[in-house]
Amino acid sequence: MPIIDMKKVYLLGHRQEREKVFSLLQHKGSVEMVDVKSGESWSEMESLLEPDQPDEAVSGLDEKLGEIRYCIDFLQRNFPMKKTFVQQFTGAKVELSAERYNDYIDRLDKTKTIYEECRRAEDELARIRNEETQCYNLIAELEPWVTLDVPIEQAKEGSFASMGLYQIPVDNLPELQGALDDKLPAHYLEVFSTGTDIACFFFACVKAEFSTAQELFKENTVTAVSFPELTGTPSQNIDSMQKKLDSLAEEREAVLNEVEGFLEHRPMLMACHDYMDNELKKHEAVMNLARTDNSFLLEGWVPEPVLADLETTMAEETDTAILVSRNPEPHEDVPVLLHNRGPADAYEVVTLLYSTPKKNELDPTPYLAPFFLIFFGICLSDAGYGLILTLLAIFVSRKLRLSGMGKQLMKLLYLGGFSAAVFGILFGGYFGDLFNLPPLWFNPLDDPMTMLIYCFAIGLVQIYFGLGLQAYRNIKAGKPLDALFDQGFWFIFLNGLIMLLLPGLALVGQGLAVGGGAGLILTQGRTQQGIIKKFMSGLLSLYNITGYLSDVLSYSRLLALGLATGVIAMAINAIGELVYGSIIGIVVMVVILAGGHLFNVVISSLTSYVHTSRLQYVEFFGKFFEGGGKSFRPFRVQTNYIDVTEREEA
């Protein structure tokens, strides 16, 4: 049974055991909770029960979780854990043994100190960054004055003379110099640096004449520059700033070293994060419950096969919890869980990428599985490539602990590799024409028309199969006439048309086509009102023949992709052959062959996978499958960072 039967369960327990029951449920991961308040019986129970609220512990847990998350993020910012290319698809979880995981959880209190340390380190880093910016700014301001030998604090008004540092727009400088020469015979002006628009200069004059100079300054938009908190010459100051920067860099290094020391706690933080996260979820799940003063009521869905196990667990582990179950009512929104046995299990990923089946709908997985296997093989159709793909899939599954869809996808590729190898042997593809081995059956490259016919034939088989499944659904739903009208007549009509093309069967074909066509015209308008409308929609329905035609033609891609794999391989071999000769040539040839064929394996497997999927989604599913169901999402332990494994660490 590919779609698992679901049971509605109600769990009634004593309030004191709520925690315990929830831990058990989360650990089992077999119940999808339903909000009691959304149930239909709520209106009857409303006067007796009240919705449960999460307790105060939640805010505490939330805060704690926030702290741990902060630590992990902080460490990630400073010492990122990079994901490899494969991990970007599969996720990278740290593996921990159950023992070690528990050990980490026992040290949960330690996260507080780590959090404080991290906070302090981050504040420290921020301070260092601030001071560095200040230094850099000051250096930038002092840079123009670097050749000034006078200590900055002396460049001010004295008893007899006025001295100072000034800035002026470059364009105004000659004018100012001219005016000063005219009006102030006894002055000293030295330009230190001339930028693109601002020039910096030192100015000194007799104190009594300074007001005249100020007048001129104002006219030429001169601004005074002052460094009130500095002493010593600019270059001394820059030196000391540099020294300060160096020491700041050392400080940063020290802080980062300290932070690096925290890295050893990272696995613990991750374990604690996942633990707290699940604790929090457990507490939040309470919102689905209803309660009285001393009891609580939980409503949910449980897959039928695990129900007995859950019942025994509840009976054994708790004193008060009572589990009642019933079959779902027809109108209830039952979640769907797929379960296919054997190799078909791998193809669930194909179905789920399209849509979860609706409740009561057929799970298409076991039906598409053989077609997917064959089509994938025809598209890749190379014994060498199939072998490589299978080995790659084994390697990746061994290397990464995959689960769910990732695991299914690897299994699908593993099986697809075998299929490709079989078709490679049939069609004579061994890394293209590298070994020049003869095909066991025939080579589609020599006889593409034959192969095209086979592709159409196999496509037609799948389309008929889809029609058959829809007919089966109709009959099961108690509408055998629909099955005859909508699928049966099409089947007769299409077969008739095909026979028309075959010499010898033309007469039979004529009869079938006319009969089937007439049947369609008479029945396809049966939902319409009035005899004319009925007839017209019946007649128009024959236009759907174009749909069937294009569906069948769409299977020509099997031939095209099969040829593409082979011809790309041939091209790689031909390029390899070009450089063959000397020792260097042989080395280059091996590199070209290895790289080229690996590229072809990847790109051809990708196109084979996506085009095979498309044939299922558009051509096959279109005949009988709707989808749009709700997946079963049980309340369970979910981890972000950690994978707890049963096996002991080496």
Partner: protein, 159 residues
């Protein structure tokens, strides 16, 4: 132009035009993918997959070009064929389906894939659906490739 030159022009167009289509398509996806990866570097793998999709047109074009070159003896051990002008045009016509469809479908597939990058940004678990949308466009490049190959194999070239 003699027959061989016309045939070669066909091969050049198949490789060139389909290659342009793929280059533009892959380029469009790369641009939007870079935008996403600045925000979320971990999406590199998924977006790279989407970027690879419009690249197949170029491969189909190269494949057709290679078949033509092999048929007329440019590559391989056999000697250069002595094609008539009519035969040259036959080979040229064989190259046209994948040249034209490869050019345009590569660009449009690039746009669909670029939109799928946006899909992956918000719902990474729906990558499969984005790929399927993109592959709907590629169907026509595959059909064009098929037409090119069938024409080429159907031609009556001297051996």
């Amino acid at each position: 132009m003699n027959g061989i030159e016309i045939a070669l022009l066909g091969a050049a167009l198949a490789v060139g035009l389909a290659g342009i289509g793929s280059a533009v398509g892959v380029g469009i996806v790369g641009q939007s993918a870079s935008g996403l990866v600045t925000e979320d570097p971990d999406k590199f793998g998924q977006t790279l997959l989407l970027q690879a999709l419009p690249g197949t047109q170029g491969i189909y074009g190269l494949l057709t070009g290679f078949l033509i070159m092999q048929d007329i003896g440019i590559v391989g051990e056999e000697a250069l064929l002595d094609l008539t002008v009519a035969q040259g045009y036959g080979v040229f016509m064989a190259a046209m389906p994948i040249a034209i469809v490869g050019l345009l479908s590569g660009i449009y597939q690039g746009r669909v894939s670029a939109a799928a990058v946006g899909l992956v940004a918000k719902r990474p678990e729906e990558l499969g659906k984005g790929i399927v949308y993109s592959v709907m466009v590629e169907t026509y490049a595959v059909l064009a490739l098929l037409a090119s190959i069938l024409i080429l194999f159907g031609l009556d070239l001297p051996t």
